[in-house]
Symmetry: C2
Subunit: 458 residues, 2 copies
């Protein structure tokens, strides 16, 4: 049996940044790493080509009456910059205390290895395991999974399974696991505002035209009201309020607002009246500015009026918001608010729907669910309770894994999302890390789920 | 006699960007170029050390009853970026049509050479010219002349003269010269807005905190009202309205608003009601955003909430606004408007006072002026009328040459500012150029002024 920590070090060393073409060799190394691992488990491995980075498909086949589980993960990671804020190098995994540091340690290389290690241990013990398994590992998750829905449509038949098992969501603390039952959708876009035909001297021409940076700021400032709500007509219309059982689960989370504020390091929260910070990230949609640029950004000053300025934005969406419907609202509002002295151009980026799965026995108005999914939730509940000493919480999460909604709408598959990373894991940020004790416990839970589904004692 | 065009090519080749330490060798080459030129005119040359780039002081001495003229210019230039927008290389002077292209061609290398060439021609003809001349060429003008007021205080005695002659201002067209009689002051500053302790995942944490870019945009958007006025209490309080003769002069400028709009390449103007674009740049103060940056600015998207964002701003000030008084108003307004969920930090940059000189015989309430200044204006009027075939206009200009106000307040010297560059010269922008026909005419006007002041026939 391999050592999962050593494997994770190897995996982190593959510099698999999907957003930047310069990292192509690292992406190939990551593909080879995952393929080799799946082959070592006796799986048939296939690289499904996409426009950018292929999807790795591993299959353990068997008779149709065997249960069938899909395991999902991604081998690509976020860009490592700003590099100077890392304590150790992002692609040289380093262990400090009970944590392993490196880009992708938590998102998603560590958590993916949790399930593959669980499977490896189970197969070592029971080479005749009566279970079909399909492992899907993509390389474009961090750029919005642009090829994934097409892949799902094409491979739909081979993905007919009981449920999908994955870990790409978080927990509030090392001892409190969350079985995530909802994810926000996403919508990314860019706004460019153009004014004069070239940069101008701010003395000779200052005071006669609408400075593109100023016009951009005016548009962006108008997108929220003073209390923090998105100020776009209709933006909240489709939002489904949280159910009573969801509010009750959130009450058990054990994180205080003071702790959360200290963790973020902000002078104060900024949520609309009546919505607590812990609710805001789970039950409310957002519109955030992710980047802005224009004019002179170097040392000292250069007194220009720039020809253009831009901003990168994204929305997080909750059930039942539809990304393209929200896009129409946002687009119309920005176009309407663009002042006459400049020209605004909007460009739609990637987008994905929100997802929600109601865990069995929670809702007063339960949806129709297949028995295998119910059994999966039951075994996950049991496994978490046994290994972590405390039952899981059932919460929605603020992040987006757009492919989960696609799995449901295209293939019909619901997901069991075992939370594994922690707030202090610094996802998408410098000093990303993963807790090795959580990793080992996660392996035990995953093994419990898989062996229960296979009909073995847990 | 040297050829001024060839000299200008040599001068442009000295890469003298004062804002960027990487250009130190180019600044030294520019100093050597100017020093050698002044020595070739028989002047005693001194390099006056400053914190960054020394001031070059050239002196033609003589008996105290000779008239004394100070000629001012600067050898430093703006940064050349964005480089990809230049048609030819910024530091390889290139002649196309009647224009010479290169960084500094118009601001201020060409215009400085106009006066030095006029002087050279006059001295060649009259080596015994009965006139004292002090040439002051600084290397920190484009970064706000931080050392100049201290230099003036120290060299005050040697600068006691009849007037200062310079060309660092513009004309509306090649045939219409302006004797600039006012300049806007300047105030530069930077605003940084900090939020969470590090960049955050916009999914996991989006919706709970005041995004620093958004807070920055809200502050910046609040600094103007919808009609384009600066929305800061007291900002306009000290502004002196333009006199009737100034409005009358502006009426003769010959540039239509349509032509000016086409020149700027904007969809429309943005001036407060009742203030025309041509008035706005001359008689009104401004607050402009010169640069902004924060979060992810690369290709594609990175869904972060950035830890911080910044903007670079500047005000142009008109008589009688005081830079540090305006700074207090702006600072208080921004501090007051900084929302509680972020921390704002303001940093004051360089600043300089506005300047105004009333040309003799114009105002109904004329100030007390020395006869030599009156004679200088008269000879300039005569020279311009003769060489350009049309009398000069007397207008204030929107740009800032802060040292002109310092020359007045510290040394007591007024300035005769012979306009030489044109709107199409692209100052501070790519493809900066200077009109060689205007250059040659400017040399003739300068020669006329200098020889008149020396008591020779013009």
């Amino acid at each position: 049996m391999f050592d999962p920590t050593e494997k994770l070090k190897e995996f982190i060393a593959c510099e698999s940044v999907s957003a930047d073409p310069a990292f192509a060799p690292g992406l190939r190394r990551a593909q080879e790493f995952v393929s080799a691992l799946l082959e070592s488990l006796g799986m048939k491995v296939e690289l499904v080509p996409t426009a950018m980075h292929p999807i790795i498909l591993g299959a353990r086949e068997g008779p149709p009456d065997w249960p069938h589980v899909v395991i999902y993960g991604h081998y690509d990671v976020q860009p490592p910059d700003p590099l100077d804020l890392w304590t150790s190098k992002p692609f040289e995994a380093t262990i400090r205390g009970e944590r392993i540091y490196g880009r992708g340690a938590a998102d998603n290389k560590g958590p993916l290895l949790v399930h593959l290690t669980a499977l490896a241990r189970l197969l070592e013990e029971r080479p005749d395991l009566p279970m079909r398994i399909t492992v899907v590992v993509e390389g474009e998750e961090e750029i919005g999974s642009p090829s994934f829905s097409e892949f799902l449509a094409r491979y739909k038949d081979r993905l007919q399974a009981d449920f999908c098992l994955l870990s790409d969501t978080g927990n509030p603390s090392p001892n409190q696991v969350v079985l995530t039952c909802g994810l926000r959708g996403i919508l990314t876009f860019e706004l460019e505002v153009a004014g004069p035909k070239c940069d101008l001297h701010s003395g000779l021409h200052g005071g006669v035209l609408h400075n593109p940076i100023q016009a951009l700021c005016e548009i962006l400032a108008s997108l929220h009201d003073a209390e923090g709500r998105v100020a776009i007509d209709g933006f909240y219309d489709a939002v489904l309020p949280a159910e009573a059982w969801e509010q009750a689960e959130l009450g058990k989370i054990g994180t205080t607002e003071e702790e959360y504020q200290r963790f973020l390091g902000v002078p104060g929260f900024h949520t609309p009246p009546g919505i607590s910070p812990l609710e805001a990230t789970r039950f409310q949609p957002t519109l955030e500015i992710n980047g802005i640029g224009g004019g002179y950004q170097g040392e000292g000053s250069k007194t220009v009026i720039p020809s253009r300025a831009f901003a990168k934005l994204s929305c997080r969406l909750v059930p039942n918001q539809k990304p393209l419907a929200v896009w129409q609202l946002v687009k119309s509002a920005i176009e309407f608010r663009c002042p006459p002295g400049v020209r605004g151009t909007l460009k739609l980026g990637h987008h994905g729907r929100p997802y929600v799965v109601v865990p069995p026995g929670r809702s007063n108005t339960p949806p129709d669910q297949n028995p295998a999914l119910k059994a999966a939730f039951a075994s996950a509940h049991e496994g978490v309770t046994r290994v972590f000493g405390r039952p899981p919480l059932y919460l929605r999460e603020g992040g987006s894994v757009p492919i989960i909604a696609d799995l449901k709408s295209i293939v019909g598959l619901d997901s069991v999302m075992l939370g594994l990373f922690l707030p202090e894991d610094n996802l998408h940020a410098p000093d990303e890390s993963f807790n090795l004790r959580v990793m080992e416990k996660g392996i035990e839970v995953s093994r419990h789920i898989l062996s229960s589904i296979a009909g073995l004692a847990g």
